[in-house]
């Protein structure tokens, strides 16, 4: 075992590690935590199940590694650069982009629904990544957390309908139309005065 933080000579096993992680993300996204078996993940990565244990310790450890997520949201400065009434729109577009590109988000959503550890991780993401955005643009900073939660509820709800439950009506709706509908909602949750 070696510190993965410090840059050291690349190991021969790095490729295997990456293959396992990629397969794990795919399986977790498609099947959720319980039905994504280590054996299936190992088969996808074309290695032995025991390697997964060696490199990630346990199934929980593998999931923890696979669910490392950075939403890559704009920082406070970038937020204030654009017109205030445009934040909702650009945020919705960003989320949609993010979700389409990265199956890990779908995986986390699936796992969070049945696994306490997954739910906790989602909570951290809300607090650490969406919270600051709300704090930067909402009128009363004390209200930021609640507004962040509201934003999360609409964004996660659309992600659920579109990428997890795959409601045909939500899947077929063109990206631009989704944005047109959701943007005002997000905008209001962030910046409207208390109703």
């Amino acid at each position: 075992m070696q510190d993965s933080e410090t840059r050291s000579k690349p190991r021969r096993s790095d490729a295997t590690r990456a293959a396992i992680l990629a397969a794990a993300r795919e399986r977790f996204a498609a099947d959720g935590y319980e039905r994504a078996t280590i054996r299936a993940i190992a088969k996808d990565a074309a290695i032995d199940p025991s390697m997964v244990m060696r490199y990630y310790g346990s199934k929980e450890g593998l999931f923890a590694a696979a669910a490392e997520i950075d939403l890559n949201l704009p920082g406070p400065m970038e937020l204030r650069m654009q017109p205030a009434d445009h934040v909702g729109r650009s945020l919705v577009a960003h989320f949609l982009d993010r979700w389409e590109r990265d199956e890990v988000l779908t995986a986390l959503l699936r796992v969070g629904a049945t696994n306490p550890a997954g739910a906790e991780r989602m909570q951290r993401i809300l607090k650490d990544q969406i919270g600051p955005v709300a704090a930067a643009v909402c009128p009363d900073p004390a209200e930021a957390p609640r507004r962040a939660a509201l934003v999360a509820s609409q964004v996660l709800g659309m992600a659920l309908a579109r990428f997890v439950l795959r409601f045909p009506l939500a899947v077929e709706m063109p990206r631009e139309e989704v944005i047109d509908w959701l943007a005002p909602t997000i905008q209001r949750y962030l910046t409207a005065p208390n109703p």
Copy 2:
């Protein structure tokens, strides 16, 4: 086996059947499909696991029976009785009520996230129960399905945050405040002109 539709002499086993169903709903709601084991459900109902099989055929059959859901939404006439700009508010209140009272809804949400059969059942509910509401109040009936999907995305998103993931910020938000925030969103999704 006997037709449960036709009214026949009540069986002695009806109590057991009901106990199993109640325990199943609780477990499915708390743990999701895979982690809610037949053995655990049977123990909760204080009977033998094999009884579950006898009365419901299989685990899937049990879930199908446990997830029979009627959202009890207002009919077209009732909808037109109240002022048109009040529909959003009363709908949100109704959904919140429904979710707080009936753990089956949480169960279905949890199961739908990882189980294809669960997802399909949610889809049917959207189509058969939310769809008509949208059709009754939205300006262009042809658009009703899409608007129903939007409504579902926000309602399910809040249910996810509040009852499944249990984000503290969403859980602690008082019921009335949730309604105040969501009502305008739902109202807009239902009745606003295409954005």
